[in-house]
């Protein structure tokens, strides 16, 4: 039965929702505006700044001073690489937990999740020493490794939830049909879990793309992704708002575009199995 809501209340709710949305979006909008102003105008009072002429000067300077595409490529390698390796480890792990659970499966899952509750700074020193001693500082391979490990619990958890929605009888049928464990996962489970795997993949690429704790601390120049590229414009000697804004826009634009085009897939994956 549909509830009848008075028009006045409906208008009010809609207005409140739009206001909240705008407030949350405002900083991003502000950064985009700032990035199209000259450095001098960017620090002017808001009204003066808004009426100042538009320019792409900040973008040109940023591209001249630092190699955007190098950082972009580092971000792609690190986020996609760590997500793919993570999936390769997590698919069999989630399979085992979803379809042949043991007495300790739930504890194991909770333990994995609990590693996410630990502050990253707590292991900064040992991690740094490990990286230094193994010669992994400022390497893409090192970052791929650390981001794989950081996001692995989330990947396993997401896949575990999706896999649990798949009827076990179908996998048993595959076993009866002579499928080995490998063919069972490859030909039956994975294709059926494609929506779930796709949304896990997308979400983890986004998480890895935005990860800024380890990427900032374990890289210098060679392996630095876009997060480090943004950070390089916030220097203690004085902030260059326009350039910082331009760098930020350039860093978030690719992932925003990816998210925009895959939002249907993302939402479908995140609500997978919620309603049956």
């Amino acid at each position: 039965m549909a509830r009848r809501i008075p028009t006045a209340r409906k208008t009010l709710t809609t207005a409140a929702a739009w206001t909240t949305g705008l407030v949350i979006f405002f900083p991003i909008l502000w950064i985009v505006i700032l990035s199209f102003k000259s450095e001098g105008d960017a620090i002017a009072p808001p009204l003066t700044m808004l009426s100042a002429p538009w320019t792409t000067e900040a973008y040109t300077t940023v591209q001249e001073r630092s190699d955007y595409f190098k950082h972009f490529w580092n971000s792609v390698v690190i986020s996609v690489g760590s997500t793919l390796i993570g999936l390769a480890i997590a698919i069999p792990a989630a399979w085992a937990m979803a379809f042949v659970p043991g007495r300790r499966t739930r504890d194991l899952l909770m333990w994995m999740l609990s590693t996410k509750m630990m502050p990253a700074a707590g292991v900064l020193v040992p991690m740094y020493l490990l990286f230094r001693n193994f010669g992994l500082l400022d390497t893409r391979i090192g970052l791929v490794g650390v981001l794989t490990l950081i996001n692995l619990p989330i990947i396993v958890w997401m896949l575990y939830t999706y896999f649990r929605e798949i009827p076990g009888e179908i996998l048993e049928a595959a076993r009866m049909d002579g499928a080995t464990l490998r063919s069972e996962i490859l030909y039956v489970l994975t294709p059926m879990a494609v929506p779930g795997i796709a949304s896990t993949l997308l979400l983890n690429i986004i998480l890895a793309w935005n990860e800024a704790f380890w990427t900032l601390r374990l890289t210098a120049a060679n392996a630095a992704p876009l997060t480090a590229f943004i950070a390089s414009y916030s220097s203690p000697e004085g902030l260059f708002y326009a350039k910082l804004s331009a760098a930020s826009v350039m860093a978030i634009a690719p992932i925003l575009i990816l998210g925009w085009f895959s939002q249907k897939q993302l939402v479908r994956g995140l609500t997978f199995g919620a309603v049956k």
Binding site: P167, E169, I170, E172, A174, M176, D177, G178, A179, M192
Partner: protein, 331 residues
Amino acid sequence: MGQIELSQVTKGFGDVTVIPPLDLRIEDGEFVVFVGPSGCGKSTLLRLIAGLEDTTSGRITIDGRDATDLSPAQRGLAMVFQSYALYPHMSVRKNIAFPLKMAGVPEEERARRVEAAAKVLNLTSYLDRRPGQLSGGQRQRVAIGRAIVREPKAFLFDEPLSNLDAALRMGMRLEITELHQRLKTTMIYVTHDQVEAMTMADKIVVLNAGRIEQVGSPLELYRRPRNLFVAGFIGSPKMNFVTGPEAARRDAATIGVRPEHIGISRDGGDWKGTVGVAEHLGSDTFLHVTTEHGMITVRAGGEVDAAHGDTIWLTPDPAHVHRFDAGGARL
């Protein structure tokens, strides 16, 4: 060949024993039905034979070869599941071909055998559809197709018809029986529906709490149920049980009479009663009669004019009175 033998097979989950030691021999080409109330262990037994569950102890041999520790695939059996368990992302053609692909059958032969199986099951025009585009009956046929294409030693059916509506169920029942007559392959069929058991089986295995209560042909079970459980489970409507002096008069603790073995009369008979509910099916009339010995169900052939409140006399056919002792065993 498809001769299956279980000796002293047991199954427990943790501390719970689902199947106490059990022996059973299934001959090649037999249609065997495991029947029993839900939770009686019939599906577990089937899954033990399939290899989807490991036995806790005991031995399973298939064609004389020890199969206890073989994987499901190595046992050479095919299974049809209650939920059909089709691969939703594959076309009907690929579903049926999947076991052949897993067995490494060359593509040309695969195509040939899929076509042949599809023809047998009237699926030829659906081969390129996905399972989601098929009706329940068609899905069940695809599941059967996937089973027959492998030419297994035996077919295992786990309540395959319980997701279908009544009319379709009857049709599929006939199809499976015909399939058995044509292929002459061993079939093991699990159901809780005693009508399916009676109509399809060469041999029925009645299970209760993991134990085999009786093994026999449908008519053997109908004519000579070994105990009260089997007597009450086989036959529809259910056998009437009478205890007390009426049973004592026949030297038994309980007597059982099937609804079809009771005569009715308006003038006189053994038991006087009042008609409660009268169910008129046309071909049969079922009367639920309240007597001093309890509620008795009577099956009167054809159309009988009896209505609620009528007084009638019932007379059990002495040749068909089953006698049981206090422990429930047949006398």
